[in-house]
Subunit: 221 residues, 2 copies
DNA sequence: AATAATTTTTAGATTAGACTAAATTTACAA
DNA sequence: TTGTAAATTTAGTCTAATCTAAAAATTATT
C-alpha cells in the first residue's frame, strides 16, 4: 500500500510522461508538485526501493508496470469522483478538481467499482479526460483543438486541456462548455486569435484559449 | 485546519465523553485509538495549544466549544457518507464504517452540504445513530435496548450500539436488521438470554446481543 | 498516614516527508 | 576539449506522529 504522498508522486510522474516522453526529470516533478528537487530525489529513492519506478541517478525516472498500475488507479478514482461531483451533486466543472484531489486517495477497491457502476461506467470526466476502466484501459486522449479547425467549419466542444478554475470559469462565461456546437469564422493571422459563432453570437478568443479547447469537427450544424 | 490525526483524536474524545462523563482520561483515549498513553499526552498538549481541548496535567480532558464543533463536524461527515454508501452504492451496513473512517476527513464544506441534500437530509445513519445537521444539532441517541422490553411486548429495531462487522453480520444472519418488528417472548432468568419471534421464527439471542439492539417499543404488531 | 498500584508524563529515539546549502554530475558552448 | 551553466544528489535540519523506558503524580489499600 502507498501513502497519499507516494500516490501523488506516481500520478505526477504518470502525467508528465504522458505529455512529454520519458524519462521524467527531477525538476519537472518538483515544479509540478510545488516542492524542491531535493525532496523529489528522496522520494524517488523510496519509490525505487518499492519497485514502483525505474531510476538511475541523474538519468530521470519511468514508472514500472506496477507503478503505472497504481498511477492509473489514482487517475481513475480522481475522474470518477469528478463525474460524481458534477453529475450527482451539481458542482460546476471548475469546482471539482480540488475536491477530487482528496477523494482520489480513498482506499477501497469495492468503493471504486460501485461508484463506477452508480455513475453508469462513464468513459469521460467533466473535462473530457478519459476514465480508465477497472483494468486500466481507457479511450485515447482528445487531441484536436479549436485552433486547428479550418475556417468556415463547425465543431463541438468535447474537452479542455487546461484545468485551472480561472480558465474553466472564463469558458463558462463565454458559454464555451462541453457539448456546445460552434462555427469557426476566422483565425486572425496576426495573433492567432479566433472568431467564433456560438449561440448566434460572434465572439473572439485568444489563440491560447482556443488551443486549450478540444473539439470534434462536425460535418454539418 | 486540523490534520487527520488531530480530527481522529477530537472525535475519540467526543465519543468517550458521550458514553462516560468528562473529563476523558489519557488511557481511555489510548485504548480506543490503539496507541500508547505517551503518544496521547503529546497530542493533548498540541490540541490544548490549538485551544481545541481543556487540559490540565493528570486531570483528563474536555473539548472546548471549538473542539466540539470540529468533532461533531467529523461525526456528521462520517454518518452522511455511511448513508451514501448504503443508500446509493448498495453497501451492507457492516461494510461502511471502515470506508467512512477515511471519507470523514475530506475537507470541503460545500461537499458535505451537497451530499446532505443529495441524500435528502437524513436524520439517522445505517446503524441508527443521529446525524448532526449543518449547525451541529441532532436527535437524541437511542437508549432503549431489546433487553429492556417486557416479555410479551412488541418492538421495532431502530439501531445498534455496537458497530463491529462481526456483530452486524451476526444480526444480519439472524434477520435482526433495522425496521424489523419482533415479539419478545421470554427473558431467561439464568443468563439473561432472550427468546424472540422474528418473521414467524423463534430464535434465541444472548443477553449481550440483546443489549446492543436498540428498539422502539410497539403498542401493536 | 504510609505504602502499593495505577495512571500519566517526560526523556530520548525513530520514521516519513519536507527544507536549505553545498557538492557532484551532466550538458552545452566557446 | 575545456569551462561554465544547469540539473541533480548529498548532507544536515526540521516537524508531526509515533514508540519504549523511566520518572512523577494520583488513587487505592492497608
Ligand atoms: Mn481533476
Ligand atoms: Mn478532470
Ligand atoms: Mn461508523
Ligand atoms: Mn454508523
Amino acid at each position: 500500500m502507498q501513502s497519499f504522498t507516494e500516490e501523488n508522486y506516481l500520478k505526477t510522474i504518470y502525467h508528465l510522461s504522458q505529455v512529454n516522453e520519458s524519462p521524467v526529470q527531477t525538476n519537472a516533478i518538483a515544479e509540478k508538485m510545488q516542492t524542491r528537487a531535493a525532496s523529489v530525489t528522496d522520494m524517488l529513492k523510496k519509490l525505487f526501493d518499492k519497485q514502483l519506478i525505474d531510476y538511475k541517478k541523474y538519468q530521470g525516472v519511468t514508472l514500472t508496470t506496477h507503478g503505472e498500475t497504481v498511477a492509473i488507479g489514482v487517475v481513475r478514482k480522481h475522474r470518477l469522483w469528478e463525474v460524481f461531483l458534477v453529475e450527482k451533486l451539481q458542482f460546476r466543472w471548475d469546482e471539482v478538481h480540488e475536491i477530487a484531489e482528496e477523494l482520489e486517495h480513498i482506499n477501497s477497491a469495492a468503493l471504486v467499482e460501485r461508484l463506477d457502476e452508480f455513475l453508469g461506467f462513464p468513459k469521460r470526466d467533466p473535462h473530457g479526460d478519459p476514465i480508465p476502466n477497472r483494468d486500466g484501459i481507457f479511450e485515447p486522449s482528445l487531441n484536436v483543438n479549436l485552433h486547428q479547425i479550418p475556417k468556415g467549419n463547425y465543431a463541438v466542444i468535447i474537452g479542455v486541456s487546461e484545468h485551472s478554475p480561472a480558465f474553466l470559469r472564463h469558458l463558462e462565461k463565454l458559454e464555451l462548455t462541453i457539448g456546445v456546437v460552434l462555427e469557426l469564422i476566422e483565425i486572425t493571422e496576426y495573433d492567432g486569435s479566433v472568431e467564433l459563432l456560438v449561440n448566434n453570437k460572434k465572439i473572439n478568443i485568444s489563440r491560447e484559449v482556443a488551443q486549450h479547447i478540444l473539439v470534434n469537427r462536425k460535418e454539418t450544424v
